[in-house]
């Protein structure tokens, strides 16, 4: 998801349920001497709450330029003298001091989804004072087997129905391996067993951001299992925030991990569920029960899979494609201190097929300059 526009932050800034729990935790930890880091600050809502709670200084760290607006918001609220905006990734910026509190929203829809936890660990290890606090400081990922016939019909079995006289059933095996991120009003499902924690972590100590867990469930009611409903719980000070669809709506979405074909389960039957995802990798979920077994993976839904994934194999020598050669050309000239105009001219001459004119070369040069220029 892109967070480069103000509009994309609306659901987070105005997430009253989530932010009220954050605010309570912030008030618990912040004192007049507190130095606070708001990590992945966005428009700085949590950092501004910390400043409003009396923190001495608050660093807002955010890679997207949207964080610059937080300066104006701070001024409008009389908090500008306590707010320091650092635009960049936490790994790239430099905080001039240690902090007493790190506030983050890096737990994602399914805890590991956005691969942001390593950045939190980096910030914690580098900047958190001994005895300092994290908000949140503990996180859990839960799953429950559910009956969800409407969702299954709408998102998966629909692929087996002829449409306008055409057979789209090939799509079903891909759809059945995609995680469904659903708004709560669409997420009509019935749990067949109480949820269990598949993965959890003490954010003050953990250092790995991969997920591997399993749990056993006893089915409470005979029904068809269409998938596994997943959500997270995070501890904010003394309170827990859950993204369970039964709880008040928050910005984070619960997820449905489909089973296809659905599994008919009997009351009292035991089902073993496993879930794994390496950092930056694919989700794989599997069930084992007397009624049958299923295994799905987002790996099996990747349409750009084979040719791109082959390049990631440890034994593969990827070389450089033409775009890679052009990028290298541009970066070398950037390093040599040449102007964008000179670089675009040179690029257009070296690859006239890709760049019929300097203007089209300039687009690529400007993109790389924006990203990698000083």
């Amino acid at each position: 998801m892109s967070y480069s526009q103000v509009g994309s932050h609306r659901s987070m800034v105005f997430d009253a349920n989530r932010n009220e729990l954050y605010a309570q935790a912030i008030r618990k930890f912040v004192t007049a001497d507190s130095v606070v880091l708001d990590l992945g600050a966005g428009l700085g809502v949590h950092g501004l709450l910390a400043a409003a709670a009396g923190a001495k200084r608050v660093y807002l760290v955010e890679p997207e330029p949207v964080v610059q607006i937080a300066k104006e918001i701070a001024r409008a609220n009389g908090l500008a003298d306590r707010i320091v905006v650092l635009e960049g990734r936490i790994e790239d910026v430099e905080l001039p001091e240690q902090v007493d509190l790190i506030i983050s929203v890096f737990t994602g829809n399914l805890l590991y989804t956005e691969d942001l936890l390593p950045s939190l660990f980096h910030a914690r290890d580098r900047y958190l004072k001994p005895g300092g606090h994290l908000i949140p400081d503990y996180a859990e990922l839960l799953l429950a087997p559910v009956s969800a016939p409407d969702i299954h019909a709408k998102h998966i079995s629909c692929w087996s129905e002829p449409h306008l006289g055409l057979d789209f059933s090939t799509g079903r095996r891909f759809a059945a391996n995609e995680i469904l991120w659903l708004n709560r009003d669409e997420l009509k499902s019935e749990q067949l067993a109480p949820a269990a924690v598949l993965s959890s972590g003490d954010l003050t100590r953990m250092s790995r951001a991969d997920c591997r867990g399993e749990a056993h469930f006893k089915i409470e009611k005979s029904d068809t299992c269409h998938g596994l409903l997943g959500w997270i719980r995070i501890r904010l000070g003394d309170e827990w925030l859950s993204t369970d669809p039964a709880n008040p709506e928050v910005h984070w979405l619960p997820a449905l991990l489909p089973l296809d074909p659905p599994l008919q389960l009997e009351q009292g039957e035991e089902i073993e569920i496993s879930l794994q995802r390496p950092a930056q990798g694919d989700w794989t979920w599997a069930t084992k029960a007397a009624s049958g077994s299923r295994r799905h993976s987002s790996f099996l839904a990747r349409l750009d899979g084979p040719s791109r994934l082959r390049k990631m194999a440890p034994d593969y020598s990827p070389g450089l494609n033409q775009r890679g050669e052009n990028t290298r050309h541009v970066l070398a000239m950037m390093q040599a201190g040449r102007s964008n105009q000179e670089i675009a001219q040179s690029l257009a001459e070296s690859d006239p097929k890709a760049f019929p004119g300097v203007e089209s070369a300039m687009q690529m040069v400007q993109g790389l300059a924006k990203r990698y220029g000083k």
Binding site: D210, Q276, P278, G281, D282, T284, R295, S297, F299, L300, R302, L303, G305, P306, S307, L309, R310, K311, M312, A313, P314, D315, Y316
Partner: protein, 89 residues
């Protein structure tokens, strides 16, 4: 070696589109790429672990000299075994 059985790892997920294939090893979380012949071999071994039978089918499907194909298959199976994606019995 051709007379042996090649069993696919239950921890290996296989994905194929348009003749290219990739295996995800759930144990190591690493990817292994397969070319067209590798894809076909994997599909044949999914149905029957008999490597000789797979070789015979491939000889019927591809215009290739038997010694060359046998050599290629043995090398590939060796690589797959080293990666933990198959066991040879």
């Amino acid at each position: 070696m051709l007379s042996q059985h090649v069993l696919l790892s239950p921890e290996a997920l296989f994905q194929e589109i348009g003749g290219e294939g990739v295996i995800l090893d759930l144990k190591s979380s690493s990817y292994f790429g397969l070319d067209e012949v590798g894809v076909r071999l994997w599909q044949l071994l999914q149905a029957d672990p008999n490597l000789q039978a797979a070789c015979d089918t491939l000889l019927a499907e591809y215009d290739v000299e038997p010694p060359q194909l046998e050599d290629d298959l043995i090398k590939l199976v060796h690589q797959l075994a080293e990666a933990g994606l198959v066991t040879v019995e």
